[in-house]
């Protein structure tokens, strides 16, 4: 039985009927890679599933329950990583992570440190984020993602601005998350090095219908 299933997803963006009747299922412990040319609706799909964008129509089922994409419990179980890493530039990375995670669950400062170490951001954890490079900020965002421990990950181009080592980090975080029985939907062209039974691909073509 699938953890997450989407049926009859229609989305309009201004004039364009971007997603037409999209439908797919993601079993537990599996990563669905969303691929397609730019502007075909990858980001739109993730934002709709995160409840940030209201679709024309959608039948979303999570853990066997039919819910609206703005259901608070559903949100508590998901993490959305968008284009911007959601960090306040006047705060240090540690302060940012403890706020972003603390908004959802109780978190101790040791956990924050271990998260920053896990993503290799420990060395610059006390400098304000303003002084960090885009790649370093992306790592800090990954620290919050990893520490929150939500079961559903919605990742939009998670490896942008990351060097090769960073891309390896993303792949290992995803593999670790899937091993815990988590779920990932990632809009990325990167090869995540996942065995075929753990990874499916959703191609959004020009007509916006699932391939």
């Amino acid at each position: 039985m699938s953890e997450l299933s989407v049926k009859n997803l229609h989305v309009f963006r201004g004039e364009r009927h971007l997603l037409r009747g999209l439908g797919f299922e993601v079993p537990a412990g599996c990563c669905l890679q969303v691929v397609g040319a730019n502007g075909t609706g990858k980001t739109t799909l993730l934002r709709v599933l995160a409840g940030l964008l209201e679709p024309e129509s959608l039948e979303l089922t999570f853990r066997g329950q039919r819910i609206p994409p703005r259901d608070p419990d559903y949100h508590a179980n998901l993490s959305y990583l968008g284009h911007d890493p959601a960090l306040k530039s006047d705060f240090t990375s540690a302060e940012n992570v403890s706020f972003n995670v603390g908004l959802r669950r109780r978190v101790a400062s040791e956990d924050v440190q271990s998260a920053l170490i896990r993503v290799g951001a420990a060395k610059f954890s006390d400098r304000p984020v303003r002084a960090l490079s885009a790649g370093q900020r992306r790592r800090v965002a990954l620290a919050s993602l990893w520490l929150t421990g939500a079961s559903l990950w919605l990742l939009d181009e998670p490896a942008t601005n990351l060097d090769v080592a960073g891309q390896g980090l993303v792949a290992s975080l995803i593999q670790e998350h899937l091993a815990d029985g988590g779920l990932v939907m990632a809009a990325t062209h990167q090869d995540l090095g996942l065995p075929p039974n753990q990874c499916a691909t959703l191609e959004i073509g020009a007509r916006g219908v699932s391939a």
Binding site: F12, R13, G14, E15, H17, E54
Partner: protein, 244 residues
């Protein structure tokens, strides 16, 4: 109890057709009523013992003022229906109301000023009702400004709907506060006339004019509604037959 009639209300092609057939049924009676009320108000009704012939401005001022407030109410309720049941047609109705409402708020202000001049010697008098209408005009302009400021039609509908609802909650508060403000400063009040204990031959034209204006608004709104529906339905197939 299935709400088929309610869902049919929500289906754009259905509403587009109904709007088309209803428009003349509103337009013609409106025209007749306004004409009759004009004749009644300008010719038959006796002059006011205090304001003489000048009081006849009432026959255009009061209906415009009524329209200004009534339209905002229609706009806000359509916006609420649009937000709660996610009906695009309801947002289209709200969008069709704003322009007409702003126009007639301006008319009620201008006619109020033209009435104030002979009565009080100055064009603008801080009469509570005139002041409240002025603020209502700013609410309309704010609504239209917000709609114009957002490119995506769907988002503009929803954002302006929230503003319309916040606005309609505030209108009675603004009216009360302006009346309260007027009472503590004993400022002059022009509009003693519109709580009419008027004789019937004065009152009848006014009521006819009010109804005529309301029907007129309905007719104009329905035409704009058809335009708004076409803008929102974009490439829906039913539009092809309509265009033929």
């Amino acid at each position: 109890m299935n709400w088929t009639w309610f869902h049919r209300l929500g289906s754009p092609p259905h509403i587009y057709r109904i709007a088309g057939t209803l428009t003349p049924w509103f337009a013609w009676p409106a025209g007749l009523l306004i004409a009759a009320a004009l004749y009644g108000g300008l010719v038959l009704a006796p002059p006011d013992y205090q304001q003489g012939e000048g009081f006849r401005i009432l026959y255009v001022h009061a209906p415009s003022a009524w329209l200004a407030v009534m339209i905002y109410g229609v706009m806000a309720s359509a916006a609420a229906v649009g937000l709660i049941w996610r009906m695009k047609v309801a947002h289209a109705v709200a969008a069709s109301c704003a322009g007409v409402g702003a126009w007639f708020t301006a008319v009620s202000l201008l006619t109020g000023m033209l009435w104030g001049k002979p009565m009080w010697g100055t064009y603008w008098v801080w009469d509570p009702r005139l002041t409240a209408q002025l603020i209502l005009l700013f609410l309309y302009l704010g609504y239209m400004g917000l709609r114009a400021g957002i490119d995506d039609l769907g988002r503009a509908d929803k954002a302006s709907a929230v503003l319309a609802i916040v606005g309609v909650v505030n209108i009675p508060i603004i009216r009360y506060s302006v009346e309260w403000w007027n009472s503590i400063h004993q400022a002059p009040s022009v509009m003693k006339m519109d709580r009419p204990s008027m004789p019937f031959d004065m009152l009848a034209p006014l009521l006819m004019m009010l109804l005529g204006f309301t029907l007129y608004f309905a007719a104009v709104m329905l035409v704009r509604l058809r335009a708004e529906i076409l803008r929102r339905e974009r490439t829906a197939s039913w539009i092809r037959e309509v265009l033929r």
